[in-house]
Symmetry: C2
Subunit: 199 residues, 2 copies
């Protein structure tokens, strides 16, 4: 495996992408970044973690959706979420410079497009597989789980489109797309590890 | 690896999907089916190979495109191409029953949707990678190669949509999608082999 291979994982909500990232990180003995990136970004930008989370949510669920639907963005809102994005992008670039790692979400595939060694992965799954997992994980009934999946993926799609001008989940943005529902969580992780060790 | 694992490969024109299928077949020592399916189908249906190829081309480039664009299909044409499809589908099911194999194209992922052990793969690549390969393979200039890729993929997309009612190249139809332009032909084959050996 390359010295500084960054495995970026984008994933549909409920597909187990985060868990897959953690398995890969543990088996390859390389760092795993997800929420930690928020904390690092918060430290760098001088914004509190709590504040970033609140602002991110606001931007994703309202502003970006309106944007993606042909709406507009107000100046007083944009600079703050851009500042958060830039702080996170800098954190991600810093992690990539330090050596091999796994980064889940946060447009890392796009942020690291000039990084020499990336394996960009997208994890997806069939609806039943995702709904069952979310019902169990969050103790929700079926319709609440379906709603949560739909809202979350819509947010991720809008966020990705806004910052990358590309389509989230379109095969052309990734080296490898895997169906964790069909392959299983463990085997999906193993296939990604096999790929990482080959490049 | 399972006893009767069928690796189906769908691929963008120029992505090297056929070559990848041949590498997998050779390394796993299992049969490879592509044009052979046509011959088998021809034998079973009593239609000549030459005739099937002619009809397939006609249907794909004219009739199916018009269909996918909201056009209609004439009764005198449809039954013949359906007969060819059914003959090919029966051939594919027969191969799958006989043991592990690699099948390239021909909607095999859909035809074998009830087969217990399939690994459905889609191979894609960036434009430059595909254009360079097609220019070299067919001794074409750049614009002719681009046109050939576009026409061929359009035909495959229409054919797939007509017979499966699904979108060719959409991640949800496959277990694994790989970018052969980024990963390389050999490594793409190796990753699929690794996946096949795990399931």
């Amino acid at each position: 495996m390359k010295d500084k291979l960054v495995i970026t994982i984008s994933r549909e909500f409920g597909s187990g992408g985060r868990e897959i990232g953690e398995i890969i990180s543990a088996k390859l003995n390389i760092p795993f970044f997800d929420r930690e990136i928020i904390i690092k970004a918060a430290e760098d930008s001088g914004l509190s973690e709590e504040y970033i989370e609140k602002e991110e949510q606001k931007v994703s669920s309202g502003l970006l959706l309106s944007l993606s639907n042909g709406g507009y963005i107000t100046e007083e809102c944009r600079p703050l979420s851009d500042k958060i994005y830039v702080a996170q992008a800098n954190a991600i670039k810093g992690y990539a410079e330090n050596g091999s790692c796994v980064i889940v979400g946060r447009c890392a595939d796009h942020i690291l497009k000039d990084h020499s060694d990336c394996l960009n992965v997208f994890i997806h799954a069939g609806r039943n597989f995702k709904v069952d997992r979310i019902m169990e994980k969050y103790s929700l009934d079926k319709s609440a789980a379906e709603r949560k999946i739909k809202e979350s993926d819509k947010r991720r799609k809008s966020h990705y489109r806004y910052y990358t001008s590309k389509e989230w989940g379109n095969i052309e943005n990734y080296h490898l797309c895997l169906n964790s529902g069909e392959l299983g969580i463990e085997k999906t992780a193993e296939i990604i590890i096999a790929a990482a060790e080959m490049i």
